[in-house]
Structures are given as C-alpha cells and as structure tokens.
Symmetry: D2
Subunit: 270 residues, 4 copies
Amino acid sequence: MEYGIISRIDYINALELTEKIIEYMNQFTDILVEESTAEHLDLSNAIDSAPLEEMNVDTLITVGGDGTILRALQKLDAAIFAVNMGRVGFLTEVPGEQVEEHLGRLLEGDYIIEQRSKLRTLKNNEEFADAVNEAVIHTAQISKIRDFNIFVDDVLADNIRADGLIIATPTGSTCYAMSAGSPIIDPRIQAHVVVPIAPYKLSTRPMVVPASSEIRIEEVEGRESVLVIDGQHEEKIGDDVLHFTRSPKTARFIRFQRNFYERVREKFLR
Amino acid sequence: MEYGIISRIDYINALELTEKIIEYMNQFTDILVEESTAEHLDLSNAIDSAPLEEMNVDTLITVGGDGTILRALQKLDAAIFAVNMGRVGFLTEVPGEQVEEHLGRLLEGDYIIEQRSKLRTLKNNEEFADAVNEAVIHTAQISKIRDFNIFVDDVLADNIRADGLIIATPTGSTCYAMSAGSPIIDPRIQAHVVVPIAPYKLSTRPMVVPASSEIRIEEVEGRESVLVIDGQHEEKIGDDVLHFTRSPKTARFIRFQRNFYERVREKFLR
Amino acid sequence: MEYGIISRIDYINALELTEKIIEYMNQFTDILVEESTAEHLDLSNAIDSAPLEEMNVDTLITVGGDGTILRALQKLDAAIFAVNMGRVGFLTEVPGEQVEEHLGRLLEGDYIIEQRSKLRTLKNNEEFADAVNEAVIHTAQISKIRDFNIFVDDVLADNIRADGLIIATPTGSTCYAMSAGSPIIDPRIQAHVVVPIAPYKLSTRPMVVPASSEIRIEEVEGRESVLVIDGQHEEKIGDDVLHFTRSPKTARFIRFQRNFYERVREKFLR
Amino acid sequence: MEYGIISRIDYINALELTEKIIEYMNQFTDILVEESTAEHLDLSNAIDSAPLEEMNVDTLITVGGDGTILRALQKLDAAIFAVNMGRVGFLTEVPGEQVEEHLGRLLEGDYIIEQRSKLRTLKNNEEFADAVNEAVIHTAQISKIRDFNIFVDDVLADNIRADGLIIATPTGSTCYAMSAGSPIIDPRIQAHVVVPIAPYKLSTRPMVVPASSEIRIEEVEGRESVLVIDGQHEEKIGDDVLHFTRSPKTARFIRFQRNFYERVREKFLR
C-alpha cells in the first residue's frame, strides 16, 4: 500500500492537522506529500514529496473540503481518505478531531470502499479529466442567456434557453446541481441529471437520463460560453459539440460506517 | 388475439368514436366492450360486454384520457392501445382523428410494445392494485400537516413534515409528481421518486431511490391520512406502515413511433 | 388595561407556565383565563374565566405556538403577548424561559405594538373571521385537481388547475404559503400573495397583488372543495364565489425588540 | 410633440418596418432617427438622425424586443411606443403587423401612459443609469459561488451564498428574475424583489422588500463579481458596497388597451 497526502494550504488548521497525520503515519509506513502542501508544512524530519500528477499512490489522504478532493481527483486515481477541514463537506468522511482513530482503521484495512460513477466530457473529440460531481456549461456574458439543444442518444430531448446547464452524476446531484433544482439521486442509480440554471421557459424541469445514454449539447448560435468541470477545469466553448457519457472509471472513497441517507440527513438537509 | 374496448362515458365525442372503432374492428374480429361503456353506446348490432375485472383480453383499446387508462389498469392486465379523447394525455398515443390508420397497424401487428414499470403498495400486509403513475399519501385534514418518517431499505432517509408525499414511477414523474416538483425521469431508469407536497422544511428536495430498494413510510403520530393509488383507489390510513416496492408486473403500451423525449417535448413542456 | 390568558391544553409544560404567569400577574393586576384553559389548570386561588369569544380584554397572553394565537384571533380582537411553547413559532415573541422579564416590561408599557394587516374572506356574501395568515381553497378529493379562475379587480388574471390555492397576507407569506412556494414578503408591503398548491401548468408562479385589489376566485366546474381560514375555520364550497380583500382591522402583536428581518433570520431560514 | 425612432439593426424585418413607420410618420410630422438605425436604413428621403443620448424627444418608437427598449431607456427619458419585432416581448405593446392603426392612435393622443417604477443602483457613491427591470450581481468565475450580506434599512436581512443575486422592480419580476424563481409582482406594488441565483442554502426564498427601503449588498470576502443593469451596462465589482433604492424617475409606456394581468396571461404564462 502506497499512501499520499494533500492539504488545503490556505487554512492553517488544515496544515497543522496534516503535520500530525504525517507524524502518525510515519510510525508505521511511508507517506508521500503533495508538493505544494509540503512547501507549507513545518516538519523537522525529511519528507518525500511530488507534484499531484506524479503521485502514484493507492490511497490519498485529503485534508480540507470537497474542493480539495475534487482537485486531487482531476489529477490522480486513488482511493480517497477524506478528512473534513472545510465549510462544504459532502464528500468528506472523517471529522478532523477523530482522525487518529480512523487512521488506525485505515492501516488495519477496517473500512469499505464506496465506488461512485464519474462523468466523461468530450468537447468535439477532446477528452477532459472525468467529473466526480458535474460539468457546467454557462454563458460567458452574465445575464445574456444561451440557447441549448440537448440530445439524448441522438434524439432532441429539449431546447433550453438558460444561463447554463449542469450535467451531474448522482454524487453531484447533492452539490451545485441541487442549488439549481436537482433532486437527490441515490448514488446506486446509474443516471445523470441535466439541470438548467435560470431557464427562460418556466416549465423546464431537471431531467434524469440513463448513465448509459449519450447526452449531446450544442449551443444553437455558437455564442461564447464556459465549460467548468468539478469547479476545477475551465474551458472556453463556442460552436463546439459537447458529449457527456459515463466514465469507465469510478471514484473510490474510503468509508467507515454511514450509508448514503445517513450522510444526506446529517450533512445536507439542515 | 382478444380485443377489448373501454370509453369514458361522460363525453359524447368519446362514445361516438368508440362506436366507430367497434364497427371498424367488427369487420375483422370480435371486440369485447366494457359493461358501463356498452350501456352508453347506441349500436344496432349486438355486442359482447363484460365488467372490467372480467375482461380477459390481450389488448385493450381505451378511448379517453390518462384517467381512463389508469382506471382500466387497476382492474386488468392487458396491452393498452390508447386513443386520446381527454384533456390530460401523457400516456395516450393515438389522436382521435387518426384512429382508423392506427387500428389498421394494430391488426397487422405493426407496432412496438413499450413496457413501463409499476409500483407496488403494501399497507401493513395488505396489497393493492399496482400503480402505473404514483401512490399519494396526504393529510385527511386540509392545511393540517403530517409528520412522515421515510426509510429506504430500513435506514431513516428523511423526516418530512408536509401535506403529503408522492411516490412515483418514472412514468408518474411527469404527471402529478411533477406538479409537486419532481424531475423528469427517463422510463428506462429503474427508480422511484419520493416528492413532498408543500413541505414545512424549505430545504426538502425530491429523492430518487433505486426501484430495487424498499421504501417504508410511517406517519409519526399516526394521524388520519388518505392513500390514493393512480387517482383511482382511495384508502384511509392512520398508524399503518406503508411499503413501496417495484411490482413484478409491468404496464404495456402499444406504441407506433415516438420515443420518450419526443413525447415529453410534444405533450408536456409547453 | 384588561389582561387575559389562553394556553394550549395538550402540553403540560405550557399549562405549568400558564400557572406561573397567572400567579405573577396576580401580584399586580387581575387576569381573565380562557375557559378551557382554566379547566386544565391546578391553581389554589380562585380565578376568573370566560369563553374565548366573551373575553373582552385589551391584551391577551397566549402560551403555545402559532396555532394558539391564530385560534384566539379568530374569536377576539386584542393585542397579543405571545409566549412560545410550540414547535412552530413565527408569530410568537417571548421564549418560555424569559417570560417573567417580559411580563415586567408588559406591565410597565415598555414595548411596541406591531400591526399586521388581515385578509377578509367572503363566500358569496357571507363573511368569516379575518385571516392573519391565509385562506386556503383545496380540493376535497385528494389527488383530483380543481380548475380555478382568478380575477383581480374583475379582470381574469389566471386560470389555474391545481390541488388548491393559498391567498396569504405578508404575515402568512412565511407560513403555509411558503411551503407551497411563496416569497418572503415584508409585512410593511400592502399586498396579498396567491400561491398555487401543486399546479398542473408548470409555469405557474405565485402572484403578488395589491391589498387594495379585490381577488375573486371561482371553481370553474363548481366541484366540491374546502375553504380553511388560518388553519382554524373550515367550510365546504362548491359553485360559490369567493372574494378576498384587505380587512379594515389589523392584528396587533406586542414586540420587545427585533425587527422583521431579524425574526426571519432567527426563526425561519434555518 | 417630438418623436424619435430606434430599431434593432440585426434583423432585416425590423429595419424594413422602421422604414415604413418613418414614411408613415413623415406624412404628419418630423421624426428623429437614432444614428446607428439610420445608417442601416435604405430611405430615399433625407432623414434627421442623432446618437441615442442626444435624442431629446417626448416619444420614442422602438422596433425590436425588450432589449431594444432597455437599451434606449439607459440613455434617454421618453415615453416608449414599443413595436414588437423580437422573440422576448414583455415590455412591448404593438404587434408589428398592426403598427399603422396604432400610429394613428398615437398621433391622435388616443392612448394611456403607464408609469413603471425604476431601480437606482449606487456602487459606493457612483450612480448608474436606472434599471427598468433589474440589477444583477454575479460571480465573475463560473461555478465559484460568492457570499453576500443583504441589509434592508441597515438590518442584516440575510446572508446568501450563491452564484448571484437579482434585485428587480415589479416590471422586472416577470423577466430574468422570474427564471431564478421570482413571483409575479403587480406593478402597482411599491416593492423590489431580491432573488438569489443557485443559492447554496436550499431554504433560501425570494424576498419582497418595500421600494421605500434601502437595500445594501456587500460581498463578504470582496471577491471579483460583475454588476449588470438591465442586461445593458456591465461593471466589475469587488469589495464595493452596493445600494439599491427606488429611482425618483419612472419609465413611461404608451398603452392602448390591456391591463397587466391580460398582458401576463397573453405573453407570459404559456
């Protein structure tokens, strides 16, 4: 087992906790530290570090919020042990104050792996890093709507004039997509949800589409828009054709107890 | 092939069209007429009739709107050839004025059968007719909310204080459930959606649950409510336990051309 | 100054607090106890009691939640000193545990009176008790929608097929109406809001109408519905004509500090 | 009476109709043509033209959609005779094909003036052109939410994390604000509505505030956002303080018959 760690670097408490985790882990095993995280730590012992994209580890400990996880998963494919040190924490699992107990269980293999499906985005034929949560297409000019044709398996499913569209996985259904009106989708369901942002036609509703279907989206007049994947990767688009499908890969999260609905109740539906 | 027919009886145009359909069909085959429909017809020739629950036919021609179809499917299990003579027509397929052409295709077998999953409802251990669209649980006292615990596979998924809850199939997601905020769910997705009606907690969202999961609902204080299945069957409930699962049976609709999204575009998203 | 008191009688803590309030008040002044409240108290001293509709007091102390206040205001017109002993408390002001301090301020006149506009309902020409929150018109048959014409100052403003309609004051905009989609309306605005419950036409939106306008509602086919005022008074309706106007009277609440937005923040937007 | 005219210049049918209007008007009176409109016309006779901001006219004929009207009203203060040649037409009054009849009534004074209130925006102490519809504050980084404090008359009314906020007049309540969830607000009501775009807190609701109140909005961390007024004027903002109040001026529209609700029914609630 190869272990790695990444922390948000703008929050001193996250960095301090990261130092403790490294010291704890070093009693038992090596741990590779993400490069910019390493630069912000204050450790007496030498540590191994590498840029995110070169971290060839089995398990990545993330110390931060959902953003830290999403950023890591854009660059590497590892099981995520997610310590919550952020404001938004729907993907995170371990509260900062209980980290030592859970690290013990991690080292003993006393956990389960939860697999979450990912969304693949193609712009024309260019492929981007998969999304754990969502891809967003949004007008590049605030308060100038765009006109989208949405095809499901080559059939025109809807024409939507809106600020933008969100194409989300079940995991993403409880994140940004939900702010725009998505339902909660149980992650066991093989589906994607298309959610309009501020649609002109008031009767427009989110659309839950089989993950096995291909969703194709075209901006009718090819005007300037922005594509954002998991809030991390941003890309200009115009008269491009966007395809969305289920990725052959999954995101893997190390879980210790709770099921999806306990998580929803606890973290979200306040 | 055994054919049957049922018409709404409160609309003279539907009855007249029913007479024409019977005359057309009688040129080629027998057709069994639902009893109360038969009583409202004005036909010179003798016709065979039977109560709905005794109509042992392969194909049922329904002349009316969605209500006529739902009423029929509460009592028998046949492929539905649905002629639209109603205001609400999401399940219907054939416009009244094009019925002869489609009857020809029906007799020649030139059509496809679309299968739609159904929802099974158990009150304590009593089983009701399956729902094509939805089961509704609603306070029996207008403007007095109820307090529901919702369990998914025995895990408390949410506690919702609301006027009521709708548990809908994908087919039902575009009917009553949609008025209460359901997304559009592609009927190929194996799921049910739980939609609250006027929930007290403003952050409550519809929840899309695998059809393979068991949904259990209990009114916390056991106060008087009403259970309605497909707008047809009504049942008083109090401190009963309600279970919802996928039915082992499906509803079958005779379709001539359009796919789900064309149907959605055409009939619904106006 | 004549004082009265009413308590919810189904909650022992509310009754106990009511006893303490009576004892406290009796040190300084008389206090008239609502009849059914009096029957549930366990006081050594003799108390004066009267039915709600005969309580001719200037100030009524209510011990309970919003329901207790709304019930009292259906029957009498007094300034309300609202002690919160209920789950739902948007109209209430004084937390149960701080009641003595606030009674002191009440007796010294150290408070302000907040006036809230009320809604008058006429069925044909029959007048009901005014609503502080809302009037609800709802189908009497669960999951059978009704077809309403809504006129504003004799102009057809909309035709809505829905389970029901809520006509709310600004005070009511944050109560039941909000569960059905109402915006928050600042109580200084002279307006009523018409909010549909589960409307068939998905583009339907709540409508904010001047309080000086007359809203007239007719069920197109005159089918059986229910009219409920403030969750208290229930009335069957069919092919009746309902008129809604601003009442010439106001509801008056004794307030000690917070303004509307502090109240909204604290109690509602959780 | 001084008359002027402006047309959208990207739509040949609008330009052709503009030519006809000028010829018709020239039989009776002079008409000043907006400069860029004039450059796109193909007229045999000499015409007077001027830039929009120098057109000192009493009545402006606009040929286009709502965008043409909003652009004109950013620069001049005239009664608007609005000919509909656009897709979006909530402010427009006269269908293109009935223009001659209505020009006759215009010249005879056979019309009414409808006044609509406007919204004034101050950034720190800098004042912009008033909005007829709305001011929008929106994150400058797509899918990175912002954190807004909203004060009403110096009281913190809400803290909202969202993509953006819309502050709309009643006129604007049926335009962009409605796509984000605004109710319909009768234009006789003296109010502004604050509508969040994709709010993180799911319980957030639009807020209707008296037009006489001052709304102050501050982005908590002063991060980069964009302010857009009536879809016309765009402005970068960061740690600025924005104030919104009712403008002392009104927009004036020439109307021939219909009242607000007929307009809503006809153009909007489809």
